[in-house]
C-alpha cells in the first residue's frame, strides 16, 4: 500500500500555490491587468468625489448666481459656470453621485429580476422556460431606447423612473445570460455528481449553479453599469431623466446645447465626465472578464 500513503508534493509547488480560492486567483489576475487597474482607479476616483462632494462643496450644487452666468473656466470656477451662474465643477461632482447611483441600482434591479427569471427558466425548463424566453424575445425585439422613452412617458419623467426604465430594458439581457449560464452549468459534470450524492434541487441551485454563474453576472453587471450610465444620460439628454435642479450629466449636456457656441465648456465637461466614468467601468469589466472567465484563461 505504498501509494496510499500521503503523497510527497513538489516542494516548490506547495509554496507558490498556497490556499487560494478561485476568487482570490481572479483577483490576482485582475491586479496584473493594467487597463483594469486603471479602470478601477477611474471608477474609484468618481466614487470618491461623489462621496466627498458635500465636503468639497458644502453649499450644494444649486447655488444660483444669475449675474455670473456662462463664465468661462477660471480660478474661481474651475470648469466655468452654467446659465444659472452655478459652478460646473460642483455640478459635475454632484452629478457623479447621480450617475453612479442610477448606474448601480438600475443594474442591481435588472440583475435581481433577470436572475430570478433566468434561473427559473433555465432550471425548470419546459413551458415556464418557453414563456419566459418568449417574453425576453419580445423585450429584446424592442428598440431599447424607445422602450425606455415609452416607459418614462408612462411613469412620468423623473430620475427614479429613468432608473426603473433602464432596469426594465436590461432585464432580458441578464435573464438570458443567467438562463444560458444555468443551462450550461446544469450540464457540468459536477452538477451530475451533486445529484449523484443525493443532493436536492434547491441546494444544487444555490450551492452549485448560482456561485458558478456569478462570474459572468459580475462581468456583465460591470459592463452594464457603463451602459446604464450612458442610457440614463441619454434619457436626461432627451429631458426624460433627472428633475431640475439635479445636476445629472445628460441633462447638463442637453442644457448646454444652446450655449454650444458661446459657452462650449458647459458641453465639454459633463460629456467628459460621462465618458470617463463609462470608460472606467468598461475597463474594469474587461479586466474582470479576463480574470473571471475561465474560457479566456489559457
Amino acid at each position: 500500500m505504498a501509494e496510499l500513503a500521503p503523497q510527497q508534493e513538489n516542494i516548490q509547488a506547495v509554496k507558490t500555490e498556497d490556499v487560494s480560492s478561485p476568487w482570490k486567483e481572479a483577483w490576482r489576475g485582475f491586479k496584473k491587468n493594467k487597463p483594469a487597474v486603471i479602470g478601477s482607479f477611474i471608477v474609484l476616483f468618481f466614487i470618491v468625489i461623489a462621496l466627498l462632494a458635500p465636503l468639497l462643496k458644502p453649499d450644494g450644487f444649486n447655488v444660483q448666481n444669475l449675474p455670473d452666468r456662462l463664465q468661462g473656466p477660471s480660478s474661481e470656477h474651475w470648469l466655468g459656470t452654467d446659465d444659472f451662474g452655478r459652478d460646473i465643477f460642483t455640478r459635475v461632482i454632484y452629478g457623479a453621485r447621480i450617475s453612479l447611483w442610477v448606474g448601480f441600482f438600475s443594474v442591481v434591479g435588472s440583475v435581481v429580476v433577470g436572475s430570478l427569471l433566468g434561473i427559473v427558466a433555465g432550471y425548470y425548463g419546459k413551458w415556464i422556460d418557453t414563456i419566459i424566453s418568449r417574453f425576453f424575445d419580445i423585450m429584446l425585439a424592442f428598440p431599447s431606447i424607445l422602450l425606455a422613452i415609452a416607459i418614462v412617458a408612462v411613469l412620468g419623467p423623473s430620475l427614479r423612473n429613468a432608473l426603473i426604465a433602464i432596469a426594465i430594458i436590461n432585464v432580458p439581457n441578464f435573464g438570458r445570460l443567467i438562463r444560458s449560464k444555468v443551462l450550461s452549468v446544469k450540464q457540468e459534470e459536477y452538477i451530475m455528481s451533486a445529484k449523484a450524492i443525493g443532493m436536492g434541487d434547491a441546494r444544487i441551485l444555490f450551492h452549485h449553479i448560482l456561485p458558478n454563474s456569478m462570474a459572468p453576472i459580475i462581468v456583465q453587471g460591470t459592463l452594464a453599469i457603463a451602459t446604464a450610465i450612458i442610457e440614463a444620460a441619454a434619457l436626461g439628454f432627451l429631458g426624460l431623466g433627472a428633475e431640475p435642479p439635479k445636476p445629472e450629466w445628460g441633462k447638463m449636456l442637453a442644457d448646454s446645447t444652446q450655449y454650444m457656441i458661446q459657452a462650449p465648456w458647459t458641453m465639454i465637461f459633463p460629456g467628459l465626465a460621462i465618458m470617463l466614468t463609462v470608460l472606467g467601468f468598461n475597463l474594469m469589466g474587461d479586466g474582470l472578464r479576463d480574470a473571471l472567465d475561465p474560457r479566456m484563461k489559457s
Binding site: 444669475l66 446659465d83 444659472f84 431640475p244 435642479p245 446645447t257 444652446q258 450655449y259 457656441i261 458661446q262
Partner: protein, 513 residues
C-alpha cells in the same frame, strides 16, 4: 450647398445675382395646410401666405385693416356686418374670388363640427344649430357684397374674422380635393403651394397673378423643420437657412454681434405665468398666493432666460391689448414682505409644494424648466420648498387641467388681440375645465367679463376690463411672470420681413438685397 462658406445664402446651383428663395427654419412641421382645420401656429405660419382673410391685422399689430374686403359697415346694434369685396381677385387655381366663395366658406365651417373646424366654435360660439352660435346667417348680396347677421353683438367679431383660420379658400379646390384639401391648399394669397414633405419642409412659390402688383418679391419660400433650437441657429450661421424662429434669448447677443445676421423681435402678445391651483391647499389662501408673487425676482429671470427681451408681467394680458390696466402696482420682489404674508397665512416656516415645469419651449416661455429652477431657488429663500415636476407636454396639459398641480408654469398667446381672449378664456369660471387651469372662480369677475363680451363701445369695454384686472390682481390666482418677446434671426440681407405678434408672418414684402 449649405456648406458653410456660402453664408451669403446663395444657392450653389445657378448663378442668380440676387437671391429670391427664402428658407425659413422653424421648430416643427405644420399639421395641415387647411387653416380652418388646424389650430397650431406652425400651420398658420404657412397658410398665412397662401390664404387671405376678409379683414387683416396690421403689419405688426392687431388693428383691423382691409383685406379681401375693402370696406365694411356695422349696424348700430352691432348685429349686421356688410362687406364690400375686392374685385378682380383670383384664387390660385384660376377661379374667381367673390361673395359666393365667402358664403361657401362660412357655410362649410358652420356646418362642420369641432373635429373638422375646431377654431370656428371657439371664436363664434359653436356651429349652426348650437345655442351659443353667434352667426345667424351669411349671405351674398351681390357678386362682391356679403352680409353677416349675428344673433347677438360680438365685440371682437372683426378681430375674429382677421384670424388665419377664417381665411377664404377656393371652393372649386375644396370640392376637388375633399379630404385632401389640407395637403393641397388653394387660396388667394401671395404664394401658392408647391410641395410638402412631412416633418421636413413645405415649399411655396410666387403667385404670379397676385392682386397686389409687384408682390410678392420672393420667388420661393421653403419652410424647413429643424426641431432643435441650437441646430436651427447653427444652420442659420452656416447659411443653410435664411430665417430662423425660436431663437434662444441667450443667443441674442451673439447674433447681434454677427455682421452676417440680424435679430428680429416679434411684438409680444402673450403672457407667461405661474398658475396656482386655488382649490389646493395652501394655494386656496390668497395671502400665500400674494406672498409667492412677491418672492419671484421677475427681472432676474427675464434677464437670464428671456434674454432680457421681455417685460415683467403684472397683468394676465400683455400691454399691447386694448383694455390693459397700466395703473396696477405690481407685486414687488420683496422677500421680507413675502415671508410676513406667509406667516400671516399661517406658514411662518414655509411649506413644501410641487412646482410644475413645462417640458417644451413656447413663445411665451422659452425654457420652462430653467425658469422653474430659478423660481425654485427664489421660493427657497422664503422657506417654500418646491419640487420641480415635469411631464411630457401632453400629459402635462392633461394633468394640469385636472387641477393636479400645486403650481404650474404656463402661458398664452393671443389669438386675435382681444382682451376677452385672455381674461375670459383663462380666468373666468366658465373656462374652468378648459383653459382655466387654476380653477379660479369669482362671480363678480364673471359678471364683468360677460358684460364686456357684448359691449360694442370700445371705451366702456376697456373700462370693464380694467376693473377685471384689478380683481384678478387682488386675488392673485397667478403670478404673471413676463410678456416675452419671441426672437427670430435672419440673414443680414433679408429685408421687408416684419414679425407679427400672432406668430404668423407675411412674407410678401420680404426680399434679399
Amino acid at each position: 450647398g449649405c456648406s458653410s462658406k456660402s453664408s451669403n445664402g446663395n444657392s450653389s446651383k445657378g448663378g442668380e445675382s440676387a437671391q429670391d428663395t427664402l428658407i425659413f427654419g422653424r421648430g416643427g412641421d405644420s399639421v395641415g395646410l387647411d387653416p380652418a382645420a388646424v389650430t397650431d401656429g406652425e400651420s398658420f405660419k404657412v397658410t398665412k401666405n397662401i390664404f387671405e382673410t376678409l379683414v387683416e391685422f396690421g403689419r405688426q399689430d392687431t388693428e383691423i385693416h382691409e383685406g379681401l374686403a375693402t370696406k365694411w359697415d356695422v349696424s348700430p346694434d352691432g348685429l349686421t356686418y356688410t362687406f364690400d369685396l375686392r374685385e378682380g381677385v383670383k384664387f390660385q387655381d384660376g377661379t374667381d374670388f367673390n361673395a359666393d366663395a365667402v358664403v361657401y366658406n362660412f357655410n362649410r365651417w358652420m356646418n362642420g363640427d369641432a373635429d373638422k373646424f375646431p377654431y370656428y366654435a371657439s371664436m363664434f360660439g359653436g356651429y349652426k344649430g348650437d345655442e351659443g352660435h353667434v352667426i345667424a346667417d351669411v349671405k351674398a348680396l351681390d357678386k362682391y357684397k356679403v352680409q353677416f347677421t349675428l344673433k347677438r353683438p360680438q365685440a371682437p367679431f372683426l378681430k375674429n374674422l382677421a384670424m388665419s383660420p377664417f381665411a377664404i379658400a377656393s371652393p372649386a379646390a375644396i370640392d376637388k380635393y375633399g379630404d385632401k384639401f389640407t395637403e393641397n391648399p388653394v387660396g388667394t394669397g401671395p404664394f401658392k403651394f408647391v410641395s410638402w414633405s412631412r416633418n421636413d419642409k413645405v415649399v411655396i412659390e410666387k403667385n404670379k397673378d397676385y392682386w397686389k402688383k409687384g408682390y410678392p418679391k420672393l420667388n420661393k419660400v421653403i419652410f424647413k423643420s429643424i426641431p432643435e433650437n441650437s441646430a436651427r441657429l447653427n444652420a442659420l450661421k452656416n447659411g443653410e437657412i435664411d430665417l430662423a424662429d425660436g431663437i434662444n434669448p441667450s443667443d441674442a447677443d451673439g447674433i447681434k454681434a454677427d455682421s452676417n445676421l440680424q435679430l428680429f423681435e416679434r411684438p409680444s402678445m402673450n403672457v407667461g405665468y405661474l398658475g396656482f391651483t386655488v382649490t389646493r391647499k395652501p394655494f386656496d389662501n390668497v395671502k400665500v398666493r400674494q406672498a409667492l408673487n412677491m418672492a419671484i425676482d421677475r427681472q432676474a429671470i427675464i434677464d437670464a432666460f428671456f434674454g432680457g427681451k421681455g417685460v415683467p408681467a403684472k397683468n394676465p394680458m400683455p400691454p399691447v391689448i386694448g383694455g390693459y390696466d397700466d395703473d396696477i402696482q405690481p407685486y414687488e420682489f420683496n422677500l421680507d414682505k413675502a415671508k410676513q404674508l406667509l406667516a400671516e397665512a399661517g406658514y411662518p416656516d414655509g411649506f413644501e409644494m410641487e412646482l410644475w415645469a413645462m417640458p417644451v419651449p413656447r413663445p411665451y416661455m422659452p425654457d420652462g424648466k430653467k425658469i422653474a429652477e430659478a423660481i425654485q431657488s427664489n421660493f427657497a429663500k422664503i422657506g417654500v420648498k418646491a419640487k420641480i415636476v415635469s411631464y411630457e407636454w401632453a400629459t402635462y396639459l392633461e394633468k394640469a387641467s385636472k387641477g393636479e398641480a400645486d403650481a404650474y408654469l404656463l402661458g398664452w398667446t393671443g389669438d386675435n388681440g382681444d382682451a376677452d381672449n385672455f381674461l375670459y378664456a383663462l380666468l373666468d369660471k366658465d373656462s374652468i375645465g378648459s383653459n382655466n387651469y387654476s380653477y379660479y372662480s369669482n362671480d363678480k369677475l364673471h359678471d364683468i367679463l360677460i358684460k364686456a363680451q357684448s359691449e360694442v363701445d370700445e371705451g366702456k369695454r376697456n373700462e370693464l376690463y380694467k376693473q377685471a384686472q384689478e380683481i384678478i390682481h387682488e386675488d392673485a390666482p397667478w403670478a404673471p411672470l413676463a410678456h416675452s418677446t419671441p426672437l427670430l434671426a435672419g440673414s443680414a440681407k433679408l429685408k421687408g420681413f416684419y414679425p407679427h405678434p400672432t406668430g404668423s408672418d407675411w412674407l410678401d414684402e420680404a426680399s434679399f438685397e
